[in-house]
Symmetry: C2
Subunit: 530 residues, 2 copies
């Protein structure tokens, strides 16, 4: 063929670090430790250290396509292990330290990882995991001293990350593989079912990163300093360890701490411009500033996601911190970003999660999976399509998408005339009563806004006549008492009368999943009467 | 394989229009005609019209992979023909109306296009082209009435664009092909050699578009209104007809007019926020505003490229218009963008063309093609690599890249400590005298800044002793006289004494290429003495 051609260019993730090392060599990655000390490194040196991790893994016999697990906080070393693993074509399996050893071991059985990188302070958990995971042969201790563990000899071999560097030839293991190769594995939080593995590829995460860099999404620039409080073990820290070097932005990693005082100090000391995390993180920051005073002049924007932003909290943060709150929506299966409110939008609303940028598309469908004729101003089941959207879960042979290639998010949503998404509930939480659907999220929003209520959850209970009927489970704030009638009264006129729960159950403590969300699966098991 | 997967998602250009039609359906594409009238259409309707173009082309027997040529200004119809062609997998071959019929016919012989879309006011040129291009069987007249031509019957069949719509089934020809399929063909301007064809692919232009959308590059948002004065027939109007719908930005197309009064009116009437064009375009705009007064409050940024920005012009535009001038560097072979100064950079300098964003990389090499050991603060031959960089010219069997995959841009450049690029000349213009190189661009910069001088060019003349010696060719401003000594005197202390030209040749009119640059090839033929 003589019709001309453009250069080959594989969309692989090590290119982000190559780019940062060459064009932003002195831009820093800063890590805070639990004592408040910071360590820092430029991208050029960080790349060298990541190459040494590749050499270390090669020395352990790790090959392309094999999983390497991490059980670690947001830190420079964790970033080095990410790039060292992915850069040589191995797959980085991030583990959530908030899960139990049994849960983590079950995930390692699936990924068959033989190497595990562990933050030093997580060694007790790692010990318990390894006792249940005989495949793990090598441990790399990062972020601190692992000498305590090193003394034992009845388990896997234990190495300090700084053993790297003894081997040469690292560069030959860097890049140069197919862009469709897997790069990462992350299990869903499993609040509505067993955790399932999501495999990211170099191509999907590369394209996801380019989406984040769009001016209407996160729009990082080389002048930005970004603080991901959202953990690297949960949906890639929303992709920021990729986006920051790709844009040449400074990356500030909080380690395991996320209290208001530590975050305020980090933001002040490092001139953070964009901070990213779930809504509750920012309560602590606002509380701290209210208590001790002080301003955060560098901070321009806080990006929230993971759950809907409470309006009062958004208002408090925007007023107290003088920053814009940018709402978003996503999930592990979406790498994880779906929609973002534009940072340039002046009419911000906490319930609106923004529009999809090019590369991801949304569709509202009915309960049978057929597209709703009207896609605007009506509630539907939210389906997504895109380059960074799951096609098939790890270990599954069947597609996770429907016959038209759309992935069912399990969320219920509306889309307004301007294309803005509002998440209105979860389809699995829907209650079918007398053949009609009740959305518990709408009831919970009303009851949850009662000042005396700490947590409210509505589930369906088996009913011989109606199939299911709604039941309210409630945890009151300390010392607060309200009658059932007082609790249910605010629903008058806010929801249909047949949506009002038949019963109220008081709980001393609402069961929560590791993500902080109400564990509805457990509530249904205990109170669903099925 | 049960290791999970992400969804397939082909990087094809029709997705930009699909995205805009679905998520920004009423955002407008506005076209000005020569009389100053504007027409406008929303992206949803524009997509329907592009689908009808696909159906029309299908009716002509056009198949995927085949070229469809356009000879047209920046207009809505031209955009529709672009997407209608590329959306069905055919290849859009843009022709420059400033070339001769012979030059254009030679290009059509290469691309073998059978269908040609022509702006009505270019019909005389198209007639001459078709007389030399027997392959062209069907003409589509856009942007006006083609009835004058329709009456003849000794040439190709002539159609009005609005014949589309008669055929159905357009949707089946939309997308659904491999992302590596060719999408466009554009010939280089040929100021330093015969014009060569550059073939863009869907993938390369898609990735180029994502680069433009980065906040540190153009960073278009859905609130922006972008005016590409740079023509669609020249390096894809810098990719803006792709970037605008991808971002959901309003697109304002100036038709064939680029005078200051028309541009000022368009910017004012349409609330343009970002205007894009070569430096000289903005002289007319500043002149007009100086003459009639008025402000352009919506305008935030002017993006320049194609040639180095004159410092005095940059200063004048920033002061008179109160906007930031964003410099850039690129070329047809780069799709065309290479580097951009960050729009967030407050320390703007006209000579700096910015840094490369992720997706394109730069390398300085010596005259033998070996990388310079030091890549900073030294002049070298500029090579590039990236997803939207040429690998092989149309019709060539040999690679245009070197053994390491780098494309030689033919430019000479420096890169400063912060990574900013400065173009310092063209390697083909270098003069080898006594075994050492003389860069004529440095001499031209000094002579060109003499107020009495209109154009200055320095070329090498064959010399029996030194190999080559520099000769200055100069066109003086009207009524201006300077002696040879007066012309050369400013070089004292600015360049090495042996760089001072041996001879001065006065020209009544400097030969210019269609791009407005000095035609050095012709100068060398006439005055190089080879």
């Amino acid at each position: 063929m003589n019709d001309g051609a453009m250069q080959p260019y594989a969309l692989t993730l090590e290119k982000f670090l190559d780019h940062a090392a060459k064009w932003h060599p002195n831009t820093e990655v800063v890590t805070a430790d639990i004592s408040g000390r910071t360590t820092r490194v430029g991208y050029a040196v960080l790349r060298q250290r990541a190459l040494q991790v590749s050499a270390l893994l090669d020395g352990f016999g790790v090959r392309a396509g094999e999983h390497v697990a991490t059980l670690a906080w947001n830190s420079q070393s964790h970033v080095e292990v990410w790039y060292g693993t992915m850069g040589m074509g191995a797959v980085c399996h991030t583990l959530n330290p908030r899960l139990t050893a049994e849960q983590l071991a079950a995930m390692l059985v699936q990924s068959e990882a033989r190497v595990l990188a562990v933050s030093a302070d997580l060694i007790p958990l790692a010990e318990a995991v390894c006792a249940l995971s005989p495949l793990v042969s090598d441990i790399i201790v990062i972020d601190g001293d692992g000498s305590e563990w090193r003394s034992r000899d009845d388990g896997p071999r234990v190495h300090a990350l700084d053993e790297r560097g003894g081997t040469g030839g690292a560069c030959e293991l860097w890049g140069d593989f197919d862009e469709t190769a897997p790069s990462g594995l992350c299990f869903t939080s499993g609040t509505t079912g067993a955790p399932k593995g999501v495999t990211y590829t170099h191509r999907s995460s590369y394209l996801h990163t380019l989406r984040l860099l769009q001016a209407d999404v996160i729009g990082l620039t080389s002048r930005d300093v970004v603080l991901p409080v959202v953990p690297m073990f949960h949906a890639n820290a929303w992709g920021l360890p990729f986006a920051a070097p790709a844009a040449g932005a400074k990356l500030v990693l909080p380690g395991r701490v996320a209290d208001g005082a530590s975050l305020a100090r980090l933001i002040m000391d490092e001139d953070v411009t964009i901070a990213v995390g779930v809504p509750t993180v920012w309560v602590g920051l606002a509380d701290h500033l209210d208590k001790v005073g002080g301003e955060l002049p560098s901070l321009k924007r806080i990006i929230v996601g993971g759950t809907q932003m409470p309006p009062a909290l958004m208002d408090r943060i925007e007023r107290r911190l003088g920053v814009a709150v940018q709402t978003s929506w996503g999930m592990t299966e979406l790498s994880p970003s779906g929609t973002f409110a534009s940072p340039h939008d002046t009419a911000r609303q906490p319930s609106l999660s923004g529009r999809p940028a090019i590369g991801v598309d949304l569709m509202l469908k009915d309960e049978f999976g057929d597209p709703l004729p009207a896609q605007r101003n009506i509630e539907g089941h939210l389906y997504v399509k895109g380059a960074a959207v799951i096609e098939r879960y790890f270990g599954d042979s069947e597609s996770a998408a429907d016959k038209d290639g759309w992935f069912d998010t399990g969320d219920l949503a509306r889309i307004d005339d301007a294309g803005n998404l509002t998440i209105t509930g979860r389809s699995k939480d829907l209650i079918k009563s007398g053949g009609e659907w009740i959305n518990p999220a709408e009831i919970e929003a009303v009851i949850g806004s009662i000042p005396e209520v700490s947590f409210a959850a509505v589930i369906g209970r088996a009913d011989p006549k109606w199939g299911e009927r709604p039941v309210l489970l409630v945890e009151m704030r300390e010392q607060q008492m309200l009658s059932d009638e007082e609790l249910l009264k605010p629903l008058n006129g806010r929801v249909a009368s047949w949506w009002v729960p038949d019963d109220v159950v008081r709980l001393a403590q609402m069961p929560l999943a590791p993500t902080g969300k109400v564990d509805k699966m457990r509530l249904r098991q205990e109170y669903g009467g099925n």
